[in-house]
């Protein structure tokens, strides 16, 4: 009885794990480990790593600062339109990345919806680091918002009733009770969003271009190196994996159970 129950859960779980983890193992197995140190010493790697870490950190901060209020408002709204708004937020996940990049160009480019109003002030966004951040935010924020909204909906509404009778405004309740209680959800959403931003490629290369030190993040460097030396590309990918597992492991170890 107990044994059957374990098999019925364990076997599919193991299959899922295999589907996800074996390809990573294959990648590691094929890598030429002795070459990795010298591959990573390539002068293009360090700027790309620095840029990736900087832009994804800013993206993560934007997610928290702007995404949390959005998630909160979505979570407490029961308006039928909310459903559709939420579906709309999922669109950046569906959009083929290059099309996402084009959409960003159409928005922030010289002739874009918003960009055309910025151009007179000499503000040019495409091909800058700002563009990288915008591209990453565009693809990553939906994950954050949807994850945090989910946790916020799980809060006991009676806690809010109590807090409000104690004199707490919406904002104060959010800050002092809701956010601390959904911290695991926030950390989880942040992990997803950060990871997605770190791996972002299509929208970035289209919207921000591929300029060393300015918009060439690690995935873009991997793309370029695939053309040059595929072994270097593998080495960089493995470093990318290591960085992300390390950061996510620490983040989760610290903020989640």
């Amino acid at each position: 009885m107990r044994w059957r129950s374990r098999a019925a859960l364990g076997v599919p779980a193991l299959l899922a794990l295999l589907l996800l983890v074996v390809p990573l193992l294959a990648l590691l197995a094929q890598a030429d480990w002795r070459r990795i140190p010298s591959d990573l010493a390539t002068p293009t790697v360090l700027p790309a790593l620095r840029l990736s870490l900087t832009t994804t950190s800013i993206t993560a901060a934007l997610c928290v600062l702007l995404g949390t209020p959005l998630a909160w408002l979505l979570a407490r709204s029961n308006h039928p339109a909310t459903t559709w708004l939420r579906a709309l937020l999922t669109v950046p996940l569906v959009l083929p990345p290059v099309v996402g990049g084009v959409a960003l160009l159409l928005t922030w480019g010289r002739n874009g919806l918003i960009g055309s109003h910025l151009a007179p002030f000499g503000v040019q966004i495409p091909f800058t680091t700002v563009a990288v951040v915008l591209a990453e935010t565009f693809v990553a924020m939906p994950y954050y918002v949807l994850a945090v909204e989910g946790s916020m909906r799980g809060l006991d509404t009676r806690l809010e009733s109590v807090a409000r009778t104690l004199g707490a405004s919406d904002l104060r309740y959010l800050r002092t009770v809701a956010i601390p209680l959904v911290l695991p959800g926030i950390a989880g959403g942040l992990a997803l969003a950060w990871a997605r931003a770190l791996g972002e490629f299509g929208a970035t290369i289209t919207f921000a271009g591929n300029f060393q030190g300015r918009t060439q993040t690690l995935p873009l460097l991997v793309y370029v190196e695939l053309e040059g030396d595929p072994a270097v590309a593998t080495s960089i990918s493995i470093m990318l994996l290591a960085v992300s597992v390390l950061v996510l492991g620490l983040l989760r170890g610290r903020w989640l159970r």
Binding site: V102, G209, L226
Partner: protein, 246 residues
């Protein structure tokens, strides 16, 4: 911002007549170059050489697929030069943005097989065997168009298992030994550096691809960069990576 409008009209195709470096008024500014990903290696060298010759000028190169680059230019990205692999790829470019265009290199198709050559491919005719798994570029991509023309001329109907979106993906199938053969450019086989073996396609079937360099703005530094690419030094650099003369 590097894009300041210069009222001087474009020099048209006459760029090739200009001499290289050495002109007294020292150039300055930034030249933003968008180049096809397959030009990565050659343009990295050209950038270094040009900057050495013009210390006041910074060249910034962004590599991507030609389609992406064209989208960027059409949608107002601030670029000065576009170097494309193939004429057809730049057809969607909005004409009013183009200040000038010249061919700076050519390329020919070649069959790429894994170094072990598991399917024993020796000529283009072998690609017609049903046991040989062939990958090509998609029909919309320049190398795909060229390959289609070549097969027509050679009267060969290959067993295509995939039409990849670009040369890189096509070549990857062979380097990873998933496909038995691919039709790519000669320069790609050179760049693969031993990861694939090249098998020439006779010239009567082959199609030549022309690489245009497009000027998108009129600054002196931009014009100088284009001239540098088209100079004999620039052309030699490009040809050292497996491309042919214009």
């Amino acid at each position: 911002g590097s894009a300041s409008t210069d009222s001087t009209p474009a020099a048209g195709g006459g760029a090739s007549t200009q001499g290289s470096a050495g002109s007294p008024p020292a150039l300055s500014g930034t030249v933003t170059v968008l180049a096809a990903a397959s030009l990565t290696n050659s343009f990295d060298v050209i950038k270094t050489e040009f900057e050495a010759a013009n210390p006041g000028v910074t060249v910034e190169v962004s590599y991507g697929s030609t389609a992406t680059l064209v989208q960027q230019v059409n949608n107002g990205a601030p670029a000065n030069v576009l170097a494309s692999a193939g004429q057809s790829a730049i057809e969607p470019l909005q004409k009013n943005l183009v200040k000038g265009s010249s061919v700076f290199a050519t390329n020919v198709l070649e069959i790429a097989v894994p170094p072990a050559n598991p399917a024993d491919v020796t000529s283009i005719n072998d690609l017609g065997k049903p046991t040989v798994k062939v990958v090509l570029c998609a029909d919309t991509v320049p190398c795909g168009k060229a390959a289609a023309a070549t097969f027509t001329k050679a009267r060969v109907v290959p067993n295509v298992v995939s039409k990849e979106i670009d040369v890189k993906a096509t070549l990857a199938k062979v380097t990873l030994d998933e496909a038995d053969a691919a039709v790519v450019y000669h320069s790609d086989v050179v760049a693969a550096n031993g990861a694939v073996k090249g098998i020439e396609i006779p010239s009567q079937y082959n199609t030549t691809l022309r690489y245009p360099i497009v000027t998108l703005s009129d600054e002196a530094a931009t014009r100088a960069f284009v001239a540098f690419v088209l100079s004999s030094k620039g052309l030699m650099t490009v040809q050292s990576f497996g491309l042919g003369a214009p």
